[in-house]
Amino acid sequence: MRPKIMQDVEALRGINSVKIKEAHEAGKKVVGMYCVFSPQEIALAADAITVSLCGTKQEPIEFAEKELPRNLCPLIKSSYGFAITDKCPYFYFSDVLLAETTCDGKKKMYELMAKLKPMHLMNLPQGAQGEEALAFWKNEMIRFKDFLEKQFGVEITEEKLKEAIKLMNRERSAMKRLHKLNAHKPAPLSGMDMMLAQWLKGFNVDKEAGIALVEGLITEVEEQMEKGIYAFDEKAPRILLTGCPIGSGSEKVLRILEESGASVVAFENCTGYKGLDVMVDENKEPITALAEKYLSTPCSCMTPNNGRLDLLRRLSEEYQVDGVVDLTWQACHTYNIESFTVKNYVKDTLNLPFIQIETDYSDSDEGQIRVRVEAFVETIK
């Protein structure tokens, strides 16, 4: 039985697009973001609202392809398509955009997007190791802080930053607790609902209300667990989904997995657990603490990216996983290339079945994916 609060979670779709408009009209500043490397805390400390921007649907891709190459990752095309067609209310109401130099495709797309709205670009180092990378990234935090102070005419104090860090840590730990419910065998929440809860939270205008909603969902799921109500039965193969980010509109592989009888219990991707793993150290000087936290994100744009393998190992153990699915978007070089390393690690070190699925947001390959996913699930059973 699906938790009742999932209806409230789904209602966020409508509520948030109204709330963002109201907030904008009330003079609140909005910072639109795309990436898990974005230090939301700095924007919150500037009394701004932070929102995730749209980029998980197929519809605007054809418009993006008028300017962008077709053979580009669907996430970049969708993000850009939403921006130029003004179909994303969060983009529309954003006062500034925060971009970041993750992959080549995104950073070149951002050059075009910067013509639409004021944009600040944070430069990521190519690798996360060593003092130099951290010092460089810390300076990028300061540059972003300076940009917002100037743009919004505010002062971002250390006090404000500390408050924002505490708030975001609370949000992270609530989301983390929600994820960890599915470490239980059988899983109480479907992977589809888990994805939806986290994805919709990204558009949340009111952080406190969002945390309360997630905590309400946790309470209801825990009550269901006490009554023995679960989303899947004990025999359902337990899947760890890794790879590129997903959201509503790009959930094809997740949906097919669960329709084929698998229970997707863990999400290693950046729209899942990746950004929740490490908290910001509340006892350190805020800018340093933020730089450390965000640089620890094990994304494939970093080289090397051994942190991802370590996270996969921890999640596969904690969530008692039976198989690993690596979802990569077409033309996403970093994740597609890294898939070979992940495959070898999962098969040889974790001794788990592995499959990579490379696809895009369209439905055109649903039949073929279904064969591969069902066969993968059959090999696990």
Partner: protein, 254 residues
Amino acid sequence: MYSVGIDVGSVAAKAVIFDGKKIVAKDIIPTGWSPKESGLFLYDKIKDSIHINDDQIKAIVGTGYGRVSLPFISKKVTEITCHGKGAHFIDPEIRTVIDIGGQDSKVIKMDENGHVIDFLMNDKCAAGTGRFLQVMAHILEIDVDDLSDIAKGAAPENINSMCTVFAESEVISLMASGASKESIAAGLLQSVCKKTYSLISKLNVEDKVFFSGGVSKNSLIKELLSERLGKEIISSDLSQFLGAIGAAVIGYEK
């Protein structure tokens, strides 16, 4: 008691009846436009061929892309699992199956029990599949079954496009420049081998290797693949029925 395996592929629908020991009936028909009707027609036809009725059938297992459109089956299983089981039934020493059908090509690895341990499948593109050969045979105005005979001994033209649509234009250009039908046919078969080999080489192919699917009827492809792999590739007149056999075996075991 019997079990029936029905494999509704993109081009042909195949069915077999299994009595727990051997295959007692097999049949194949074109899938046509309706996988549901072809599946049902084939099911009735194969039952009639050995005069059995529904009471004598303990399970009907459907596989192939049309598995979702058969309302009368007791279970659906993917063709990947079925090919593993089918190959194991034909020869328990088979460890790798190369399957090239109408719209998919796959390589499947199994353990000593016929249980699939790994597999790879082409993506949504029809390159290197039976459909590719069908389209090309059509341009050359020959029957797809004759491709192998025509190509034998000819010096293959180099065909670079893997994409069915682009390869079509390439073949038309070759024809215009006066290349022979034989050498174009040889080039086409070479290109299917190249594409298949690039898929196979990602998995560590182990003996024995079995070749299944409609394209396995093409003896030259089998020869060329075996050369590239440096391994013997076996096939049988039951190759095209491998999925249906696996389905029937799974149904009987159930």
